[in-house]
Symmetry: D4
Subunit: 256 residues, 8 copies
Amino acid sequence: MDETEMRMLLEEVASGQVSADEAALRLKREPFEDLGFAKVDLHRGIRQGIPEIIYGATKTPEQISSIAKRLLDNGNGSVIITRMDPSAVDLVSAEVPLRYDGISRIGVAGTPTAERRGKICVITAGTSDIPVAEEAAVTAEALGNNVVRIYDAGVSGIHRLLAHSDDIMTAEAIVAVAGMEGALASVVGGLADCPVIAVPTSVGYGASFGGVAALLAMLNSCSSCVSVVNIDNGFGAGYIASLVNRSACGRDRPTP
Amino acid sequence: MDETEMRMLLEEVASGQVSADEAALRLKREPFEDLGFAKVDLHRGIRQGIPEIIYGATKTPEQISSIAKRLLDNGNGSVIITRMDPSAVDLVSAEVPLRYDGISRIGVAGTPTAERRGKICVITAGTSDIPVAEEAAVTAEALGNNVVRIYDAGVSGIHRLLAHSDDIMTAEAIVAVAGMEGALASVVGGLADCPVIAVPTSVGYGASFGGVAALLAMLNSCSSCVSVVNIDNGFGAGYIASLVNRSACGRDRPTP
Amino acid sequence: MDETEMRMLLEEVASGQVSADEAALRLKREPFEDLGFAKVDLHRGIRQGIPEIIYGATKTPEQISSIAKRLLDNGNGSVIITRMDPSAVDLVSAEVPLRYDGISRIGVAGTPTAERRGKICVITAGTSDIPVAEEAAVTAEALGNNVVRIYDAGVSGIHRLLAHSDDIMTAEAIVAVAGMEGALASVVGGLADCPVIAVPTSVGYGASFGGVAALLAMLNSCSSCVSVVNIDNGFGAGYIASLVNRSACGRDRPTP
Amino acid sequence: MDETEMRMLLEEVASGQVSADEAALRLKREPFEDLGFAKVDLHRGIRQGIPEIIYGATKTPEQISSIAKRLLDNGNGSVIITRMDPSAVDLVSAEVPLRYDGISRIGVAGTPTAERRGKICVITAGTSDIPVAEEAAVTAEALGNNVVRIYDAGVSGIHRLLAHSDDIMTAEAIVAVAGMEGALASVVGGLADCPVIAVPTSVGYGASFGGVAALLAMLNSCSSCVSVVNIDNGFGAGYIASLVNRSACGRDRPTP
Amino acid sequence: MDETEMRMLLEEVASGQVSADEAALRLKREPFEDLGFAKVDLHRGIRQGIPEIIYGATKTPEQISSIAKRLLDNGNGSVIITRMDPSAVDLVSAEVPLRYDGISRIGVAGTPTAERRGKICVITAGTSDIPVAEEAAVTAEALGNNVVRIYDAGVSGIHRLLAHSDDIMTAEAIVAVAGMEGALASVVGGLADCPVIAVPTSVGYGASFGGVAALLAMLNSCSSCVSVVNIDNGFGAGYIASLVNRSACGRDRPTP
Amino acid sequence: MDETEMRMLLEEVASGQVSADEAALRLKREPFEDLGFAKVDLHRGIRQGIPEIIYGATKTPEQISSIAKRLLDNGNGSVIITRMDPSAVDLVSAEVPLRYDGISRIGVAGTPTAERRGKICVITAGTSDIPVAEEAAVTAEALGNNVVRIYDAGVSGIHRLLAHSDDIMTAEAIVAVAGMEGALASVVGGLADCPVIAVPTSVGYGASFGGVAALLAMLNSCSSCVSVVNIDNGFGAGYIASLVNRSACGRDRPTP
Amino acid sequence: MDETEMRMLLEEVASGQVSADEAALRLKREPFEDLGFAKVDLHRGIRQGIPEIIYGATKTPEQISSIAKRLLDNGNGSVIITRMDPSAVDLVSAEVPLRYDGISRIGVAGTPTAERRGKICVITAGTSDIPVAEEAAVTAEALGNNVVRIYDAGVSGIHRLLAHSDDIMTAEAIVAVAGMEGALASVVGGLADCPVIAVPTSVGYGASFGGVAALLAMLNSCSSCVSVVNIDNGFGAGYIASLVNRSACGRDRPTP
Amino acid sequence: MDETEMRMLLEEVASGQVSADEAALRLKREPFEDLGFAKVDLHRGIRQGIPEIIYGATKTPEQISSIAKRLLDNGNGSVIITRMDPSAVDLVSAEVPLRYDGISRIGVAGTPTAERRGKICVITAGTSDIPVAEEAAVTAEALGNNVVRIYDAGVSGIHRLLAHSDDIMTAEAIVAVAGMEGALASVVGGLADCPVIAVPTSVGYGASFGGVAALLAMLNSCSSCVSVVNIDNGFGAGYIASLVNRSACGRDRPTP
């Protein structure tokens, strides 16, 4: 409820159309529904333009399908479920329509939009970084973006990356995914003229410390357009890239 | 030189307009100028849409003014100089027109654009975070963006932040600047529907470890729209916010 | 034995009621019983007002039931067993009356008090934090406190937390349980007027480093009423909250 | 404004006593005052029972005296200023009545309460920990608590600590201050029957890592009643101890 | 394509032998082949004198044999596969000729060179370091170097190392492999007159932190000839030692 | 071979009793035997007064029994095998006489000395520390020392430790074993007048970081007589305590 | 007061020689004197055989001389003051007889014993480690031990160390002082048959992390006789070496 | 003295040319000279082919000139002094002929060789890395190598680096110097066919942690030819590059 709506409500109280009690109730009523184990944020679609995403990693199949159902019932066209274990697919798809992708481990319940806009590049340094990259790519696609995948283009053979300069230079947003020394983000950032969201991965061994080496490299990037998300957080990167691309393509945000 | 230009050049060789030697020279000539201590990247304006920024922290006043001059001479309207020591102002402003801001420690040489587009919010948790926030804000302004400042709105008095919900909910990009526990980014991220670039600051003591506590908090944000830059890197955040805002306002990128 | 008792004993020696040998024995006798693998601290009930708690994680079922029995025999009404593996339930409950809670993994042997005083709020940021929160809540209940649970009220949807302001503002003590960026503690601390005991959890991935990100955030909280216990230490938080609440409700400590 | 007041306001709108516009204004008006560089939280005294504390470390003398004045003018009897540099005393005391303590570096502006209740023990391991301990002690005294100081009672001469068992066992709250190995908190925690707030200090060298060794020791304390605040955060410990002691002595919190 | 070749191509364009289109294609064509999941760098043999090595740890047997085949087909005599799981041997050896070594977990596909030059010493501190050392030794042998193995010669019995002074003092390159305190590298470095490549291993427990103790020791070596590779990176050390030894023995690099 | 023996050898060369060739051989011959996978240090008994200990953790049963046999054959009365897996007992005891202790996981091959001297106290903070303590105690016993065990005497119930002051104050060496906050070492160190070897254990959770908290606490001990060994290194502590006790009891070191 | 004395006191009470009040007082009286800022532990000489040492680093000259005086007055022949700033010498030596050593920064007040027993070797890896080594050496000498100094004998020129094998092999205790990679301790430990107390120093740069590299190396030493003290803690090493040497030389501890 | 020389000596003893006493003396005489504060390793030139280098950082001017003199007197043509403070130049150059370079802070005493062989490239990412790079370059030149400097060629403008492919591809050894994210080493390593010695620098701020980010990136390089030295260790890199280049150019090592 924004200021205008509040004033309208108050005027209805002043004019007697709405009782003080009713108004108090409306002002107090929470825009979420409490399932006991989770408070489903039905308001997020309005507040942030993207419906709530279900983080599947720590939830039972029952909890996932129950939350997904509640969100679909509440008018969301589709619901993204991340880090969903393959073993949960059967139970959830029995309750709601579900498309599941085994590499990114993302499920999409309901009827996702078919529309695609703009261009997001998702680039990896090596083949081992692909699952994290797919989490970003599938997320971005489910949110209605065109995605170009450029995989295994690490900096130790720089020509493999330069061969894709065209796509890199015309993207609205780029997701750069790399483990080990994470140098990919800086080189890509030097070629691009759009935000580069860097995702360090836990790929590596020894002094990679589960992705810390790549994380630090990306935070210290000499390319000014690079920002960073958590280790292996492909979803977050795809989500942010989608915000940028949506914005570049002219989102239909209600003028405030 | 992009693919089209290369093909044009080759056709000129085929038609005899350009000799093979001349073409070899052009293909080889580097798009940067070597000052000895620095290779000035004259090409960046074309490649990234924003002219090279001078990182002033480790350069002598002589080096700064020499690079700035070379960039201005090469057709850039203005040049941003970050982390510029006040003691360098006299020498540099004797060589090039300079506007210097003492809080953000940013100098702008040349004639910056007066145009302003869109809306970027720069928010701080406390008063001590203001210098870093100003680095972001002044950078964003120098790059042609409207900036709204919301300072000292930390989460321990949440109403101070909520009072600015309107600006937060209508921004094209947000820079959230916080030291100590860095919780600001998550709360702002929960209210916004645009990318939030989080800047951890080194404000704090003891187990803040010079900004590490805030950095980790921001990397682990439960708000999906938050990405992070280096500790105290106000410039980078302002730069990325500008890329997002420019893109939202419809940049005039030459269609490739 | 306090100073008064010592003086009484000495007077009995002076008056010949007690021999020097007997007095030496009494002064030397230890207020604990040695089971070989453990020294049971029978004195703790007197010293600290709460009987010894059995840390079940590293003990065999036989050790647990043997210590529990010894404590019950020594006059304790009930004994709390934390981090108790479900597999130990059968053996222990064959020896002593036992109530076991599978989520918090807490067993209570003997006849716990039915009395409940005051109000402790236990709040979590997400659903994954619930097991740790339950360890705090069940501990506090076993120690005779009223507990209000507010779960999945993380800061990325701040209205979910604000909806419970009433409970937060009238609690005698609050336990704030959060993983990831741990921002919950600071926001709760800004609303409350009682001690907030923050429990970082190991929930998260990548740069959460098993709870370190939340731990650092909580230690750096800008809310002055926040203190912190070890990662996942729900028991400790429930115990301390109980001390505070007991004190607020007027404990019956023998005047010294 | 709590629910009751809101309902009253709405009833006044319904009855025509208050216009819709006036009500909208009142509902929107923020309970803080914006000084530009700081948003003074005038509401905190009501919300938390203790007026806002000024963290002096990063503020100019002008900022300190301006905030202090505003808080005093707003009806607060006194205002605590922590980490106040001695060089700021002259300027601030010219503007507001000020009592300054050089060891704790705490200033109290206005007329602090003379009333003292309960008992808080502040204990240090060594003489070097005294400045941090004094920050806790002076804070607690400024907030109206009786404080017993027990300094240089570290565990390498355990009899020095045991000599004070009486005070330790009858305190309502204890602040245990130690650097180096931080063992003091555990030993005190084993003797006490009240919450022990542990403050690691940066006293030490080498592998003390500026207080990290003590911090970790305290977080891992085998005594269940120990919670921890940031390194050198004497103020926070004194503040929390005051909350506990106030509560034990029967605070006059308005029944909700 | 180097400068000479480019000039030749341009002259062919000038003379009409090659069309502008054809030249553009050749200048653009990438020197790698894209298998979808991996971009095989066929150019590396020319660029670096050693064919691409397959890092087997994160690849399926199918991927390994497919890349190996492609490299062999492209004219490489043999292909090294590191960190190859024994379970992949059957499938890969069905597709390409394969020699597999179970201790170093290295497979060599194709017909490796029989030639051996110079002398590389591979030394370990303990018996537990042998698998990492064998990765270095087998790599170096597969690349055509003579290898002398000196195992279990740690510094706590310094005579065991000194007994091999002759080999150490006449090597062209030395690989020093050690876990725990990693002191071997410094002692060997003090005896040798050639580059010593130090490999920290994850052998150890407690404060060895999975090889960090050895890594730090080696980075801080007081012997100037010591450089370091990642923890357990036997392959990298063998590869670098081979570069040094090849160079010492007069490699047949085409004079530029 | 010490200086005297060398001079004797040279005099035998001078007198023609020994040929130059024979002398060169003797001077060069190594005092160890090479089994391929291990160089057995037969010289250690002479050099250090205690025969080589076999670190069993990373060796196969075959390797253990082969080394043990070789050491026994070479005149050692007994051989200590640490970190020996129970599964290796059958194979090893088929080859050499073996006594195996399941808690400390120590095997003693051959006929250990029955003699016992002096007094070493081994103290633990909790019951979970017992396996590490037993590694120290069994090692010390195998090396001929009297051992007094004081287990579960942690500092949160200080009277449990003080009850053993007599043993602590009369020991020749003390091994203090503790996980969690590791405070035991400092308290024991304040009571003792002999070296205290502190062993941090990996007992704990969360911010104990696998023993790092205890390790740091012990390194920072305010008791001057405390030195520290690696996390869980009971063997090392027992070995050093034995060196101290042997020395205190008058070892029979051949006067140099 | 030990058990025997307590029994004697009780018998005097029983016989009427001592009143119950007097006995209570004696039993309660603390064996330390409280100077306000410090509790001087007059009892330590009896408890630990070595008088209290004054840690000078954090004390004013006035505090140092006041504590030193009190200890000398109480019958101690001499008092060691460590980490004493040269600027404190004048004031302290005006109050008590003082010998000050500028390299070790140790002052000895009173009349130190001239007696010297046994042999302690203090060895350093480089010249930069000498100040820490001198702290150990001067401490050991002040406590009555013979000290042999072997400086700049690091492992990168192993013959420099082996040249001193005689002293190393006949010492009763060794202090090994090294920064950088800390390998010295392991090599010395492999030659010695007595306890080696290793002191990591903060000498080094970059990844030495102020002594952490050396500390970790020493904790992971493959030589069983090595234990470790805090970074730069020369005093502690000298103190422990003295305990060992004293014990080896037959200390005159009153038989319990 | 190698084996041949020892045998020769022994034959001289056998033939009576040398007495046993004289032989014992020679065998025992140390190949170093003890200046008290330092043991000068006169043997290193023979053992390692490069005379001892003086680490100037922790030595007084007097110590430097005294060691340098001793080395020059002992037949070394020149002596390299690293990390030499400018303030030491006057005193040292009064004693020995000295050439001092202010950027690398290297002094060369004596008459350095004028001969130059092979090619070493020293490359930096930015201008701030130049002092460390110069330490490598000047060291390599002093040791007789040709050096090509390529400065400010970081990966955010990759064309600046590719412009120097020719030099990179024909070097015998490369030193890659970079702070911040340290990506330079991987990109250079992908272009080169010789060993790349990577030097992380402490250039950067925030999460660069004084060079740790670059160090980790370099250790995790995906380019197999990269090994790493300590942070800011330009000298070590130049020294190792010299060993490689010398070896490639055919060093005149006496055949053993």
